[in-house]
Amino acid sequence: MFRYLRKVDLKPWLEAEATPEWLGEEAIPADPVCSFRTRKNTMSVFTLDDDARNVGRIAAALTVSCGQVREFEYIILDSTDVDSAAIVTRQTEGDTADAEVNGLHRDLEQISAQKLVTLTTLVLNKNLHEVCDRILAKDVAVQILKGVSDGSLTNVSPKIIQKAEQLVGRAAQRS
């Protein structure tokens, strides 16, 4: 079994912890489904290693690509759930600033609305605090600076580096 990382905004998942009264017994809220934000019926994910040690590196690579240093929020998908939802997985090269991270990229393809609802339902049936996670902005910043320093992150803009340094040095500067 593989585990995939999908970058999401966790707000709908936080809200999903408290089931609204209007929701039927077996229904799921729409917002977590929409948070997966497919494009061309495809969703980008990254393969995690056994103990998810590469999460920080993936977060740094994706954050740099987004152009803003901030918290990195994600959901962990089990390959068994992806298979159960009959979603096709294909290895494709990612387009982040980290070549090694690009090699971890997978496309989840041929996603119908029904398949996406199935996948979301499977995730919602788990303990959300085990599958939803966040890397704080300061930790993302540390990872970015490390990546720049060791050369794993390339073409990082000065603005990103400056922001990362600001986040890492904020407390020290204050004291």
Binding site: K11, W13, Q68, C132, D133, L136, K138, D139, R170, A172
Partner: protein
């Protein structure tokens, strides 16, 4: 440790600003007490009247400080100021107390004097334009924010707008944001966004006020996503002085996800505390 509790006496005190200059606060009382939260009968309460909005231009915290030291002659580093809005009655935010009620120490916010008014010797009011402009501009930015689609996380334009408000108007912008949040005039999504931005600014003059606001929301908001926004803001602020409030928040948190994220923030701030104190310990 000796402490002071501020209590406000009018409806307008829903708008207090700890640097005082940007508020509609007309009358307020400082009740001196000990860390136990009990009032000290030997030390009289002090009430100040403010005749016009701009009559006093010095920070409230500075006035507390001066009066306090005059009355009790306590060395500065021992002072802790507890803030409390007595007249605010919304149950979701803070419990209601009458003026002069004894407040238990753990129900008030505790800050070191230094964190509240690192700029005690000056006030930035002379650099500011009219209060009304600050209020209107802040409201406009937040109205725009509330009506925008925040689906695309981290809308830089709004981040910059909110940050500019703080830089330009200081405590008065924070005060207005505080008011709009209390009055529930902006939706939770927008509040969450603003709370995050409040933590991600390097602006020493409003540091204490922003931290206080984030801590209050974290402790008293009924919305998990708003509490989470405050938590993110505090992580960005990266000030270990928030640790007691974060520890208290995690104890009362009901959302397992928010609890998990609070724990992450606590661990970050503990590391920050350790790293900041190490060089100091190494000094001869």
């Amino acid at each position: 440790m000796t402490s002071a509790v501020t209590t406000c006496t009018s409806e307008e005190s829903m708008l207090p600003d700890f640097d005082y200059s940007g508020t509609d606060l007309n009358t307020w009382t400082v009740v001196w007490g000990e860390a136990s939260g009990l009032l000290d009968d030997e030390v009289p309460s002090k009430t100040w009247q403010r005749k016009s909005r701009r009559a006093h231009e010095e920070p409230l915290s500075r006035r507390i400080w001066e009066t306090y030291t005059r009355l009790l002659r306590v060395p500065p580093k021992e002072l802790v100021v507890k803030r409390f809005w007595e007249t605010y009655t919304r149950p979701l935010m803070v419990p209601s107390h009458g003026v002069g009620d004894v407040i238990a120490a753990d129900s008030a916010y505790v800050f070191s004097y230094e964190s509240l008014c690192s700029d005690t010797g000056e006030t930035d009011i002379t650099e500011q334009s009219d209060d009304r402009v600050a209020v209107e501009e802040t409201r406009q930015v937040l109205r725009d924010l509330a009506s925008s689609d925040l689906e695309d996380e981290g809308d830089e334009r709004f981040e910059e707008s909110v940050q500019s408000l703080i830089v330009l108007y200081g405590g008065r912008a924070v005060c207005e944001i505080d008011y709009l949040i209390r009055d529930e005039q902006i939706p939770p999504d927008a509040i969450r966004f603003v709370l995050r931005v409040l933590g991600d600014i390097d602006h020493p003059k409003t540091h204490g006020y922003r931290q206080w606001l984030l801590q209050r929301v974290l402790l008293y908001s009924s919305s998990a996503i708003i509490r989470d926004g405050a938590n993110v803001g505090l992580a960005l602020l990266d000030d270990p002085e928030a640790l007691p409030v974060l520890r208290k928040a995690i104890e009362k948190e009901t959302s397992p996800l928010v609890m998990k994220f609070l724990d992450k923030t606590i661990r970050q701030l503990e590391e920050t505390e350790a790293s900041v104190s190490l060089p100091a310990q190494g000094r001869p």
